[in-house]
């Protein structure tokens, strides 16, 4: 490819980076092959299957009452869980970044537990904890609160599995906050809350939003952690991923695909949205 003779003619491509470091062709080949085979091919399969249905059929399936109920349950639960995680996650990140205390390293490591723990394990554990005779369940029962086999259980499961997203997104941003801004504000007499509200929070909220959005996206698709604790009662505590599963077990591949296409579309839109948001806001912040 490299000719020994130089040329005064303009080159058609000018990508010097490709030439200096080795391995462009190989890594491009492997990556494209893998991405096509593992990611794109299966997605196209879904598209083909969904396209195979008529619009009327498609609509009938995705707007079936039970399915719509599952959308509602899933979306609401995910929203509440993510907002809860936003608050708790911010608190945890704050404490981990700002303060020292015995056992801090352990607590920091534990933040990743929901990420590393299999969802089925999380599922049976949460179900056991919040069952009426469970450690938490009995105590909550005295307050008249029932978690297992209710939508509240779904929220708990979603919250558990997606907590790390908020903590791990906010932590680095907290660590990078410049000390001088706070010191200046405090030396001018502002109260802690004012400084937090007007100086710290504006820097934090893009990362917090990103974390909440990631937590939301993850919760939408959560399956293993939910089905043990939710009770899975149609119209009440049935999530959309379970609906897809049920349709599959009924061998109704078409219906499952239709619902899945809705979920997939929503996830992809959220994913691209989050990436765009991150590119814009987080870079702007770090650009100063």
């Amino acid at each position: 490819m490299n000719t020994k003779r130089g040329s005064l003619l303009p080159r058609l491509t000018s990508h010097p980076g490709k030439r200096v470091l080795p391995g462009f062709a190989l890594s491009m080949g492997v990556s494209l092959l893998f991405v096509s085979l593992v990611l794109l091919l299966p997605i196209s399969g879904l598209v083909v299957e969904s396209a195979g249905m008529s619009w009327a059929q498609y609509w009938a399936v995705v707007s079936d009452e039970r399915v719509v109920a599952s959308y509602r349950v899933t979306l609401w639960a995910a929203l509440i869980a993510s907002l809860f995680n936003g608050v708790v996650g911010l608190l945890l990140a704050w404490v981990l970044v700002r303060y020292s205390f015995p056992g801090k390293r352990v607590v920091d490591a534990l933040m990743d537990l929901p990420f590393a723990l299999p969802t089925a394990v999380a599922g049976i554990t949460l179900a056991a904890l919040f069952a009426e005779n469970g450690w938490y369940g009995q105590w909550l029962a005295t307050l008249g609160i029932k978690v297992a086999f209710t939508p509240l259980g779904i929220i708990v499961a979603m919250s558990f599995t997606s907590l790390p997203f908020v903590v791990r997104t906010v932590q680095p941003v907290l660590e990078d906050l410049p000390v001088e801004d706070e010191e200046a504000a405090i030396s001018m007499g502002a109260s802690d809350w004012t400084v937090f509200r007007r100086i710290l929070f504006p820097s934090l909220w893009p990362a917090l939003m990103t974390g909440i959005a990631l937590s939301f996206t993850r919760s939408l698709g959560e399956f293993g952690a939910i089905i043990f604790i939710a009770g899975n009662m149609p119209y009440v505590s049935e999530v959309t991923s379970l609906m897809i599963f049920i349709r599959l077990q009924e061998f109704d591949h078409a219906a499952a695909s239709a619902i899945a296409s809705v979920v997939l579309l929503a996830s992809l839109i959220l994913l691209f949205g989050i990436n765009l948001w991150q590119a814009r806001y987080l870079r702007r912040l770090h650009g100063r």
């Binding site: 990611l39 299966p42 049976i124 293993g224 043990f228 599959l248």
Partner: protein
Amino acid sequence: MQRTSVHRVGEQRWVRWTLICLALGLTLLLLVMPLLLIFVEAFSGGAQTWWANLTDYYTLRAIGLTLLVAALTVPLNLLFGVFLAWLVTRFEFPGRKLLITLIDIPFAVSPVVAGLLYLLLYGSNGWLGGWLMQHDVQLMFAWPGIVMVTVFVTCPFVARELIPLMQQQGREEEEAAVVLGASGWQLFRRVTLPNIQWALLYGVVLTNARAVGEFGAVSVVSGNIRGETNTLPLHIELLYQDYNAVGAFTSASLLAVIALVTLLVKSFVEWRQARQRAPLHEQQEQG
């Protein structure tokens, strides 16, 4: 309130300790207790029962299948992750940003949807699956299908660990190595690999943890044939639904241990990386 020694928000003692206690309390309730429960339930029948449950025939088969899946998934995703990270952080080309976003797809997609995607394609009614059936190859409802779906679900992890690190480290060291005459393999082995080894380790360990624990996607393609196509998480589900809580938690305890090891490795990796970033101490002599 004295401000002389307070430079940052939330430094006052009462604020600090309130928040710390709150955080510790939440950690205890949300993270520690569940862990504790797993082991309490698992050992609630005594150590011998625990062992008997673990070495039960179907449990052993489940463990074996899970290990097989991990053994195939991890190296594959390791290779892919490294190649992708190299491609995306060391070269400029049209579509680079798109590729980086594409790799996040398994992250955003529900595992059940992931399983469905593969079922549609490779199941006996799928367009590839039909063709494969004619050649007597069955991927779905058998262990190959489980492996494929696990590969899908875990493919981002190594890449996502490597990409930010390699971007931050920049290509200068590699350029320097090329100027000095290094070939591609020498470059990778001597310059790049030592720089990314800890992140790579964590990526592998994380991929392994997720491969071993995948539930939703595997549920769809597995067929749930006891002893044949049940991975450990599916086995746990089966036991739990059979009201064999102790058995379920015994297997769960195994997976919980793997999760804890994963956390340990991550701590270790971060400790190593922090050490490398420690401020250089200037020498006394000039220049």
